[in-house]
């Protein structure tokens, strides 16, 4: 009785559930790394650290340099975060995808392995 229940679930809702969980994990990673915010603010100054000056040309140039540095720092940190998020999402996708692909053969594979081990 339970064997039928097990098989019905494994090749139906269980398989679908496994796929959904992989997608959900990837989505959570995407949100936890604030990917949309990172993309939207990629070139924004780091923590709004900026300076402005109405003074001499040298002072203006210095302020502009400060701002460029702030944006560069922001860009650098964000790119690192984006790359990390991308790698993690890729890993989840690959691992999860592999699991979903192999899902149908896991029950027979376990039987084959048990039997194979005994035969060897």
């Amino acid at each position: 009785m339970f064997v039928i229940g097990f098989l019905q679930w494994w090749y139906g809702p269980g398989w679908r559930d496994a796929g959904q969980r992989v997608v959900e994990m990837a989505r959570q990673t995407y949100l936890n790394f604030s990917v949309p915010i990172l993309l939207r603010t990629l070139l924004a100054p780091w923590r709004r650290i900026t300076s402005s000056s109405d003074g001499s040309l040298e002072q203006r140039a210095r302020a502009m340099l400060d701002n460029v540095v702030s944006r560069a720092v922001g860009f650098g940190v964000r790119v690192i975060a984006l790359v990390t998020a991308l790698v993690m999402i890729l890993l989840i996708g690959l691992g999860g995808g592999l699991l979903v692909l192999l899902w149908p053969i896991l029950p027979p594979l376990s039987l084959i392995l048990v039997a194979g081990g005994l035969v060897l």
Binding site: F6, W9, G14, S34, I37, T41, L106, S110, G116, G117
Partner: protein
Amino acid sequence: MSAYSFNAGSLLLQEARLRRSGGQRLAQILLIAIVVLAVAAAGLGLARHHQAVSLAGLALGLLTLRLWLVRRVLALQAAPLGSTTQLEQLLPPELAAAYRPNLTAPQLWTILTSTWQAQFVMARFGLYPEVIAEHLGDEPLDHDQLWQAATAQAQATSLPRLNSAVIVTALFAVRPGLVALLPQLKLTSEDLTEGAAWLGRLEAFQAAKRPVYGGIARDWAAGFTPTLSRFGQNISQQVELGGKQFGLQERTQQLDALVTGLNSASGSVAVIGEPGIGKSSLLLGLADRLLQGQDSGRLAHHQIFSLNASLILGQQQGAGDIERIVLMLFGEALHAGNIVVALDEAQLFFGQGTGAVNLSQLLLPILQAHSIKLVLNLTPGDWQKLKSTNAAMTSLLTPLVLVEPSQTDTLRVLADRALIMEGDRLTTYQALQEAYRLAGRYFQDEAYPGRALKLLEAALNHPDGQLISATSVQEAVESQLGVKVQSATVDESDALLHLEDHIHERMINQSRAVSVVAAALRRARAGVANPRRPIGSFLFLGPTGVGKTELARSLAAVYFGAERNIIRLDMSEYQQTSDVARLLESAAENPEGLLAKVRTAPFSVVLFDEIEKANPNILNLFLQLLDEGNLTDSANKPASFKDAIVIATSNAGADEIRRHIEAGEELESFEQAFTDNLINSGQFKPELINRFDEVVLFRPLNPAELVQVVQLLINEVNRTLEPQKIQVKLTDAAAAELVRAGYDPRLGARPMRRMVQRRVEDTVAGQILRGQARPGDTISLDIADVGGPAQAPVAASTSAAAPAATPPPPPAPPPAPAGPQPILPRDDSGR
């Protein structure tokens, strides 16, 4: 034909039974086995042993089994309502596993009581499983009717699926024995339905996923806020750390309006509502919504800082310090770019109230610039004041008025918050209802749900065993306000039934007055009286010195526990029109005023002496007081008289009463005509007279009754002398002499106190000072001692068994010395 079918052999049912018979434990065993096998397989694999393959295969097989067990069997839940008519799918799995279509009601009850959902409902309503089992009845259970009732209950409470709690409430709807039991438990079927909804909300909250509040990079594009962190509270951080709190009022509409207001051109909103209505909770809800970034428009992932007025004010060391800090705060908020500034109790920032600072001139240009998002929390009164003093500022704010939630919504908030506040105790639904009822009656300074929540919090200090019950709430009110809200105890019932006797221990005659007042009190304590009016309201009419005030005092002592529980106003001091305002002064204006005193001690006798002398406008206020049981003070806050006994006294018509009594008439025979005369003569308006529960006439006291009054006064003297262990006794002749000397038919008993003071207390004082009266003595005063023919007073031992040992009576006391005399030390050595 049944509307539902049940397939006892279905696969789903087998899985439900597996889950019920230890599925959780099986999952744990499988996990251990998988780990052991995997480790063993790895070990053997390293040793290149061929059995490693078998063990790996076995581990994999068990892993797939465990996945099925955890993700399928243990995650089973009832099918959504309306999706099927198969009972094994519709029922919660723990119930379906044991269900059979031929179950009797007691059998079904036994299964239900093993589920935590049913236990939740039983505990919250104080239902004992054994008591319910006794009332289930022997008649066959109509399963179809039960499931239809359960479905209806679930739909009524917006539950998507059946749970055991809903089935318990359905049983109460279909079993006649349980239907009859409900009133005995002081419950209705709607209450039980609310209990099921309570559980439904808890389950939904537990099942909800923790939201993602923007992720790690949320604030990387926003500025730092050190000054705001120092002078304010980051509400968003609070929400982020603790998650959205269970039990916060669902105020979707108000939140929508608030977000819309903040996103509008003005960008600033004034949230207006009475204290306790949930302004601060609304900020928590706003913080949660903004952090989630949904339905927030441009405010997505903004943070809310609530500024602390007292912290800012505390930084003032020189002129301009406050302004400098405030400008720094708003400058920082502007620069950060993701800040909503909240001013909770905003009136403190506009120079209103204790510890206030006036920043209106500073805030006006900030509001005009529309550059900062501001939320101001204000009470309606403060909003009106701000409008009148600073119209330019209020025109820049979008007002959002919060209204008090309904009783149902308030009870839901109480129920959900109780789960957080109660700790290791259980709050019953009856406690929530009682908190709602008593908060409405006694805590009128605040709005719902705040006032009921405060009371519920206070009730946590009065546990009833392991429960926070209705009794806990009543005890909290009694300890806070000194009112009696619990049912009368056996001793108290006895005291109430014999109230007349207790009052007559202090009062002579006036039996009719005493009996009408006692009857009113009995009605109130038995819960028969109208709860929206004072416990009793009486107009006492009669000459001076007949016991009107004394009866009020006796009531305060006998019923309210002490004579001090009397609030007395001499209405001759309220004769001018301007005195109306004085009577209605708020607690802030006059802490010793009538309304302040009634709020502090609502369970009191309120005595309005000589009411006929009051200004007619004040008498008009009495109409409201007697009709609605409250008066509203100058700050527009009501003060309740619903737990007070209101007594007005008057000497009006005193001569007429005396004439009737001297003519030998009984009070009952002329009281109606007398009252009509008072109205016809214009001394009292008929609408005022008719609003009193009773108009009580007091008859003049005759000399024989005055002798009894003298005896009561001597009892008072004896109570005063009790610490010195000396007692005073008057002979009959002495008492009669005092009455003779002090009798004045116009003044009644009033001169008696003076007589006792002059002729008894002075004599006793002289004896004590001369050492003629010692502890244990009884001073017996005869007629000569109180101003009659000469005879010596007797200081005697109280021991009846040793009269012979009593020293011979000293000679009559010499006249009191004219000047001060040295007080001799008492010689106790010879005793």
